[in-house]
Subunit: 177 residues, 2 copies
Amino acid sequence: MAAASSDILLDGAGIHATMDRLAGEILSSLPAGVPVGIIGIRRRGEVLAQRLVHELNRRGAAGLEAGSLDITLYRDDLAELGPQAILRKTEIDFDINGRYIILVDDVLYTGRSVRSAIDALVDLGRPKAIRLAVLVDRPGRELPVQADFVGLKVEQSDVPVTVLLTESDGAEEVRVG
Amino acid sequence: MAAASSDILLDGAGIHATMDRLAGEILSSLPAGVPVGIIGIRRRGEVLAQRLVHELNRRGAAGLEAGSLDITLYRDDLAELGPQAILRKTEIDFDINGRYIILVDDVLYTGRSVRSAIDALVDLGRPKAIRLAVLVDRPGRELPVQADFVGLKVEQSDVPVTVLLTESDGAEEVRVG
């Protein structure tokens, strides 16, 4: 795709400002005295989760643990089913029982990856609550999932959203089309 | 509890009118040419699902299938965990692959029963989409679940909501407190 055919919704500064706002919203939502875990869905959710943890620590949040989940969407062509979300890998080195979990992803679209991530977390224990934070909320939900913290809400349907982050992609922008 | 200590939010006529409105909203949301399944979470979600199917058929909706899921919340005291939602029984006698599913429950509260119901459905196949319809939406979410169709939104936190339906309870009302 030529760059001219797509619209840049956020540049590097815009992503930075958006993540700062999300960090503030998350910080003011944290219940007092409850341990917190920030868990990113790989690959870009993990990058965003690491940035959130850094910003929350900078703002004085204490006792945050960070982790990641690797959910892969794969197409089971044999059964002619659509893409299925499966869990590939978990890097969560703390007890999630009783913990307030912020699950982080770059784009919320069908909700299937988030469902798989919630499943994986619930298999690990009983978190006090799981909240969802996403950089971009895009129409096209196939499951009744919603984000609690949204960086940018895209209203256009059927238009792909691309998120690029320095750590994973060597560039920094959110664009549609 | 004495009746005087609780507030009746909906009486029988109010529940009827609310379900009629939900049926209209659901009907206008149905995608053309896609088979539909209305699946209630037992016991009261199943009653509401049966009423919805009746009303949707009356309004000319074609090819609806109805089913139910039995999700039980039980407390695993041995592990000192909180209540866990488990699937006890499924009565779904149709293929859910490619089907537009309306999941129906009486009250949406923590979201844990809904999560278990979604899990059970996804184990059965790949629905085109799962939408959630509830008579009452109550604060207290522990998972990032939302309802697509809401009869009545209760704003008060920490106040129990009671739903009574003729078929399951011999009375008909929604009350708080």
